[in-house]
């Protein structure tokens, strides 16, 4: 049995295209809500012993500190997360004392990031993502150097790069919407998740490309499209199993792993799902489309 994956390529491209456009629109409209590790500022988590005072009461109590815009977000039963501009330790202690006056409270965590540190981290993160993308593309082009016919090896690299951009853009789009609706922030764990998506979703692509490579060597270069479909069919079971085992672990992490790892897991779930989709429905069909386009041009 062989599925004809490439028959409906145009539909897959449209689906992905729509998702990418939606992500880009959302990113340009809402932007990303960066956590204080990127933006600079203070983040304070307190737990009130009794009932949590209202957000307005907290805002009012802290008004005299000149903290800029204060974000007050309830968490757990009696907890609150406060975000405001960067303050010195002395001011931080005064704020804690003021909250204690409002209602007895204990501090769970406090974080302060200077503006220069945040900017530096952003630059480093951008560099890391760019380097990772370049390295993966080069590696694939290198690993598939022996299969230069009928599609040259650098095209494998480009096809997987496009699939990767797809896998990164979609989670980013989702997080920009989540940021708008629920104040979900891009924090360092999310960045780590995005980079892992890069590494993992290329696994799938490599396995499929590898099978295409093997089948070309075995069956000869004719019928490239048929070879791609045959390879996809052969690897489909494995692709599904692999993605499922990872998703199982991530879902467990999402539900039981606690606050900090929740969005880390969510980013990975979205990214890996979209990675599985793009490996099967984007990267390989792209090779075929490219091949056909060249053939038509040559003819």
């Amino acid at each position: 049995m062989q599925f004809n994956f490439t028959k409906y390529s145009i539909i897959y491209y449209i689906i992905s295209g729509l998702l990418i456009v939606a992500s880009i629109v959302s990113l340009s409209m809402f932007g990303l809500k960066f956590g204080i590790e990127f933006a600079g500022g203070s983040n304070m988590q307190v737990e009130f012993q009794n009932q949590r005072p209202s957000n307005e009461a907290i805002q009012k109590a802290l008004a005299s500190f000149n903290l800029g815009e204060i974000t007050v977000q309830p968490t757990g039963a009696n907890g609150t997360i406060l975000q405001f501009r960067g303050v010195e330790e002395a001011v931080h202690q005064q704020i804690l004392a003021e909250l204690n006056k409002l209602s007895p409270a204990s501090e769970k965590s406090f974080q302060y990031i200077g503006a220069s540190v945040g900017q530096e981290l952003r630059n480093k993160t951008e560099l890391a993502i760019a380097l990772a993308l370049a390295a993966i593309t080069l590696y694939i082009a290198f690993a598939f150097r022996k299969v230069s016919k009928p599609v040259s090896s650098w095209k494998y690299g480009i096809a997987s790069l496009l699939a990767l951009v797809h896998d990164i853009l979609i989670p980013l789009g989702v997080f920009s919407i989540l940021g708008k609706l629920y104040n979900v922030e891009i924090t360092i764990p999310i960045i780590a998740a995005l980079l892992t998506i890069l590494g993992f979703s290329v696994h799938d692509t490599i396995v499929i490309f590898d099978r295409i490579r093997e089948n070309i060597l075995r069956r000869g270069m004719g019928q490239f499209e048929d070879t791609v479909n045959w390879s996809l069919t052969q690897t489909l079971g494995r692709s599904i199993s692999t993605v499922l085992t990872v998703e199982i672990v991530l879902i467990s992490l999402f539900f039981f792993g606690g606050q900090t790892l929740r969005y880390f897991a969510l980013a990975l779930i979205i990214g890996i799902t979209s990675g599985a989709y793009s490996s099967i429905f984007i990267a390989s069909p792209l090779l075929v489309s490219w091949y056909k386009w060249n053939a038509r041009k040559g003819a």
């Binding site: 965590s109 302060y112 780590a192 892992t196 093997e214 494995r238 085992t245 199982i248 467990s252």
Partner: protein, 473 residues
Amino acid sequence: MQQKYYIFIGVLILALLAGIFAYPNYFDKSVDFLNSKLGWTLPHFPEKPYILGLDLQGGVSLVYQADLSAVADKSGAMSGLRDVIERRVNMFGVSEPVVQIQGQDRLAVELPGVTNVEQAIQMIGQTPYLEFDEQRTEAESKPILDKIKELQDAQTKGEDVTKIENWQLALENPYFKPTDLTGKYLTKAAVVFDPTTYKPQIQLQFNSEGDKIFADVTARNISKPLAIYLDGASIIDTNNDGKIDAQDLYAPIVQDKITGGKAVITGDISTQTANTIATRLNSGALPVKIGAPISQETVGPTLGSLSLQKSLAAGLYGLLAVVIFMVVIYRFPGVLASLALVIYVAITLAIFKLIPVTLTLAGIGGFILSIGMAVDANILIFARMKEEIKSGKNLSQAIDEGFKRAWPSIRDSNFNSLIVCAILFFVATSFIKGFAFTLALGIIASLFSAIFITRIFLMVFIGKWAEKVKWIL
């Protein structure tokens, strides 16, 4: 017996040792039980704790930016600063603090378990203070020693010592008193070697103002000790007990009145000690200002342990679910792969302890993720095996082919992940470094478990009998 059985037994022993090392509780409990029942005296398994990051055990992490604009030898100034801060933090009584230089002019300070952040920040931010103290006369020492004794007596009786008249006197050093000579008059200290004996010496260079003061101080202290203090405590640990306290005293004897602003401290010291003293003298001579931290993270102890419990629980559920999935989909080989996965977890945890790797929440997240990824190689191999069986090969051929043909894609994909890990490790911040490192360790360990261990299991457990019950494959 065939070679494969030896390897199999070796793998089992390795797995068992790794498992006990990673989680010795059950082993130790059984040993206790046997010891109590049979009167044996078997020892517990060598214990080594996991190193937890601040986000899991609670504490403060601070990053400082040093102002090096007035300093010529920047890296020397930074290591001096690191040394001074480490000294202070140690004296503050923090267990296992970490003080690290980051980049050119950053200093990261991690204080596990510290709750009094304000005091810690204040203490770290102070400018180093170097002083040269002269000996008190007996007439000067006596009142202080008497006052100390009076306070001690009062304390044993449970009286309020602050009620005693002039009680602050007891806080003073009974044997030495400050001179006018401080770090600000010192231009530079360096280690030089005596041209004839080759012994290390410390050379001091004072500025013109310091030259006069130093001449005065040495003139009135000939044949007497001149004690050197940094931040109010002895400049080095002289009795080698690992901490600097009132028992330590570094006080070279003044041989003669010294003019001209140059002095040499001789004595029977190692080059290492001489270097330490010179570094610390310099950090007091050219104090590097660090001011307030540019970033700070404080995690309460309850939040940390809660995060740890939750993430571990999530990891355990995830592991169980993967095992169930593998057994349902891949049947007998799935059972073997699950066994290999459990061994993988034990080996990785043992490596975390052994190196040791500082486990942060992100690191644990990376490790849990790797549990899901670790079976990927197995899935590839098994899927390939199934195909080969379908195409009419016999079992042992199918196993061989499965491994052989799946290998290129396993190699390429894992190598790719390692590249990403390496980039993360060299580019990103310490948080992501921890994640990248655990993930990379996980990938390497998973290759070992998925390819080597599973293969041995398949070779040992799948024989002729399996040909008759092919459905289990």
